[in-house]
Amino acid sequence: MTVTHSNAPARPFRWRAGAGRVLAGAALLTAVGVLPWLSGADPALTVLRARSADQDPTPEQLVAVREQLGLDEGPVAHLVRWLGGDAGASWVSGEAVLPQVTAALSVSLTLMLGALVVTLLVAALLCARTVFLGSRRRLGRDRAGTAAAVLAALPKFLLASLLATVCGVWWGWFPSSGWEGPQWMVLPSLALGIPSGAMIGGLLGQSLPAAFHEPWAQTAYASGMPPSYTARNALRRTLPGVLPQFLPTVVALVGGAVAVEKIFNIPGLGRLALDAAVAQDLPVLQTSTLALVLLGVAAGVLVRALRHGLLGRPLRDGALPGLHQPELAPRRSLRWVAGACALALLALGTAGLLRDPLHVDTAARLLPPSVAHPLGTDSLGRDLLARLGHGALRTAGVAFAVTAVSAVAGLLLGLVPRASAGLTEVVATLPAVLAGLLVAGVTGPSVWGAAGAVCLVGWTPYAAQTAALLEQERAGGHVAAAVSLGAGRAHLLRRHLLPAVVPALLRNALLRLPTTVLVLASLGFLGLGEQPPTPEWGRLLSENQPYVELAPWTVLGPAGALVVLAVLAVSGSTVLANSASRRTGE
């Protein structure tokens, strides 16, 4: 029976996924194509502004721009011409679009490859201990991945500022700005790769113990196979579940590394697309989006091929036993870590709430931590403890809500991989800013706009993960057995599929929590989200970023709080899950 249901869906899947990709890509490009008409902001005005900042927006000038760009023809004419293969010329500069986009794309791809190398190194380092112990059957305690949580919580732009200042300016090891040769790649690759590597490493580290506890590993150990054999095969067993995460985590950096590109002055695609979007330079924006869509699809196909190459026949033949977490007790210190983090956040919240977060005192500017201001003050003399405390609930609340919505949406879409695979690949490489622009175009400036925009693109990692894990789980013999015993769809989902997916999904969501906070704040310039001076952690980090070197405490506080939140989320969930499973086990 396994053989009959294996070959049949392969072709329709490919066909349907292909159609899904085309459909999703077309929908996205159309949405981008009508952006200037959607937003209500006159493209003639933004284009004029981008060309010449001091230009008076006289009606004659605007008419001249409008005629020159053919704006009166409406979006359809433009879309048709563009689809006809004419990438056109930039509305702002009048230069051909294609050379600009290809140059920026090649820069961004090179940077992404550098980041990929760092990602792999960091992930390897984070998993090294588990692999070493596991392959020697000495894996006693569950590793909650606090180290991964700490690294994954580091804001990329902060890391970039720090690296540029310390390694670029102070020590002069590497050039701090520009893009002229391999040595220019080092610092930006590190800034982008370390958090991404922590993400990947954290996910891999969670699933590795399960592989080491499978019967084959025991057999291999008992029959005296070398540890490297076990390690290799355990990785081969677990990597396919993590591989899809490379798409939203690493490949998405091609278009989504704007902050780092700015800090290191890299002429990449992220900046090109953002500048084009802000100036409503439609030809550049559309072609950049197309490049990102094609990249996403290509990477998606590659990941799929890699996964199938790794899993091979067992997946095809439905003979893949499910990976199941062994009952490992978490390290005892983990409770303490979780407790300490919770206590720290609670103390921060209560102490902060008793203070005024908005009181500006220009005389008390950038004061270092003292008794009066335990965490120091920012550039306007506002108390940082107060701002952190007042922002805690809002920040954590919104980030949790957005993550929950994204994760649930991702889970639901991942359950129907045939319909969603194309959409996932297309959206995965889309920068959140673009979603923000679309949302701002529809709703105008709004408090909930940022959350909506992040949800719009934030579900892709979870959908990709769910789809991958489900495919593996469905290929398990126990699922086939359950089906032959007469299990219905609901039963399968509840008893077999969801339990296999949810823990990994949860870990993924918690590791991504700090990134969500930062992405939410990064949309502020579009008028999305809470307006200043409302304290909010992401804003605290971005508004104090210029003072990193002059007054490090202004960013250390918020960054530390973010790390604590991430560690609490990850360790807390491990502790809770463990005690829950023990209760059900007893």
Partner: protein, 506 residues
């Protein structure tokens, strides 16, 4: 471990393939640590938007780096001085003749009356007309090889100042393409010649030995555009560049005392009150805002000392403003905090500003506190400028923290006053419709005598300030980062010049 190492190998194998994907520069890459061969390395802030076309933002680059010249140039005290034109005379109200000097373009052709006429006609016909020509109709005619007659439709007393605008730079005929684009590469007449423009990241300039004014001391200039202020400061501190313009105030303290140089800028930051909005139609409320708003609190905090407390619309960078300043009289009496509360009837004051200049959002938070003290309820709206400009012009906000260049490309203050404060001004965010202001600005615009014109401008300033439609906060200072081994960098309030003949590495 098979897969990660496979991925690694793939990545490593691809890297050299893609190494051609760096912002390639056959010379820049190798001699990055140089500067020894007498070339200056300069980091500019605003990347080119139209391949250095003089009709765009990029025009100032041409004058900053002494690539192109106009007929005239602007002197330190704000008057016109000879450049490509050796001398000029005003024949009558609308006719001027300009005598050209012997000069050659960088492509070897001579600067002739024909080339001047061609350049000015092209500027007039440009698809988006340069701002400097927006309020004048100019006709140019070549009298002989080195005499040009310019006629304006109506009297234009500031024509020589206008011609100093970088947008009216005279380029060789080859610069003007048939499709309307303009490329100054190898087509200027200044001491430095652009030999290569690499997108929005780099440009290479070499000394032009045929310059009429002599030979420049620097052998050439390597320009890098770095949009991020911190990155610009880092490039200077790391020794990657010799000069970095516009260091953000937050970074200025990190530079050595002898590398940071502050220049009073013609930029004035002010709080614009929208007289057309429901809240600030009431002049007593505007006066209350004026009484409570204190821009000097921003100087040492938000601007880190790199600003001057506001004296009016025009600051110390406009050298003559202080002498001719007129005292403001006839202002409305301010409402007390209690009156403000009753008059606003619970309406919130929508305070807008934009993120493009990092100081403005900080200033807005300070002002919010000051305004709340006077009894207003304030709500901020902070976005990217282009995201909100349409709303600003439509008068959707009550107040705006605004940074504005007060001497536009004419170098003449009237253009700014007319567009921002006259009832038919296109940039009248304050929604001001005041007959006395209109009259005063018009009087200044039609005055030909420089001294009298300045006096009338200051009278118009007083009229505008009387309305409380604009509350000047500070006059900004620009901080230029200049390495200690460079001398002769020009600190220009108008930000039109940076490098000239005498700029060099020690």
């Amino acid at each position: 471990m098979r897969t990660p190492s496979r991925g690694l190998i793939a990545a490593l194998a691809l890297t050299p393939l893609l190494a051609g994907c760096f912002a390639q520069s056959e010379d820049g890459g190798t001699d990055a640590g140089a500067g020894t061969n007498g070339r200056l390395r300069i980091a500019l802030a605003v990347p080119p938007v139209q391949a250095l076309s003089p009709y765009s933002n990029d025009a100032t680059v041409l004058s900053k780096l002494s690539v192109a010249e106009g007929l005239t140039a602007l002197s330190k005290d704000g008057t016109a001085e000879p450049a490509l034109a050796e001398s000029w005379t005003r024949k009558n109200d609308t006719t001027w003749t300009f005598e050209l000097r012997k000069a050659t373009f960088q492509d070897g052709t001579d600067v002739t009356a024909e080339s001047v006429v061609n350049a000015l006609e092209k500027a007039d016909a440009a698809e988006t007309k340069p701002r400097v020509l927006s309020d004048v109709t100019l006709t140019a005619k070549a009298e002989d090889a080195d005499t040009v007659t310019l006629t304006t439709k109506s009297a234009d007393p500031v024509l020589p100042l206008r011609l100093a605008s970088p947008a009216l730079a005279i380029l060789a005929a080859k610069a003007y393409a048939a499709n309307g684009t303009v490329s100054p590469v190898g087509a200027g007449s200044g001491p430095f010649e652009i030999t290569r423009l690499n997108g929005k990241t780099k440009a290479t300039l070499n000394r032009f030995d045929g310059y009429w004014g002599g030979r420049a001391k620097a052998a050439g200039i390597d320009v890098t555009w770095i949009a991020d202020g911190t990155a610009r400061a880092n490039a200077l501190r790391g020794g990657d560049v010799d000069v970095a313009e516009w260091i953000p105030t937050a970074q200025a303290k990190l530079l050595g005392q002898d590398t940071r140089h502050e220049v009073p800028s013609v930029r004035t930051d002010s709080l614009i009150l929208n007289t057309g909005s429901s809240l600030f139609t009431d002049e007593a409320l505007r006066a209350a805002a004026r009484e409570t708003v204190d821009g000097s609190a921003l100087v040492d905090s938000v601007f880190g000392g790199y600003a001057d407390p506001a004296q009016g619309l025009f600051g110390p960078a406009v050298s003559w403003a202080a002498d001719d300043r007129v005292e403001v009289t006839g202002r409305a009496a301010a409402a007390t905090a209690a009156q403000v509360k009753t008059k606003t009837k619970g309406r919130t004051l929508r305070l807008a500003t934009y993120t493009n200049r990092t100081e403005l959002p900080e200033a807005a938070s300070v002002l919010q506190q000051q305004l709340e003290k006077a009894g207003f309820t304030v709500k901020q709206d902070v976005r990217e400028y282009t995201q909100m400009e349409a709303d600003l012009l439509a008068g959707k906000y009550d107040a705006l923290v605004f940074s504005r260049v007060t001497l536009l490309d004419t170098g003449d203050a009237v253009a700014y006053l007319a567009s921002d404060y006259m009832s038919d001004g296109v940039y009248n965010i304050a929604g001001l419709k005041d007959p006395a202001v209109d009259k005063a600005v018009k009087a200044a615009a039609s005055e030909g005598d420089t001294e009298e014109r300045r006096k009338k401008i200051m009278r118009a300033e007083a009229e505008i300030l009387r309305t409380d439609a604009v509350l000047p906060l500070v006059h900004e200072q620009a901080v230029q980062g200049i390495a200690t081994d460079v001398e002769g960098v020009i600190l220009d309030p108008l930000e039109r010049s940076l490098v000239d003949l005498d700029t060099r590495l020690k």
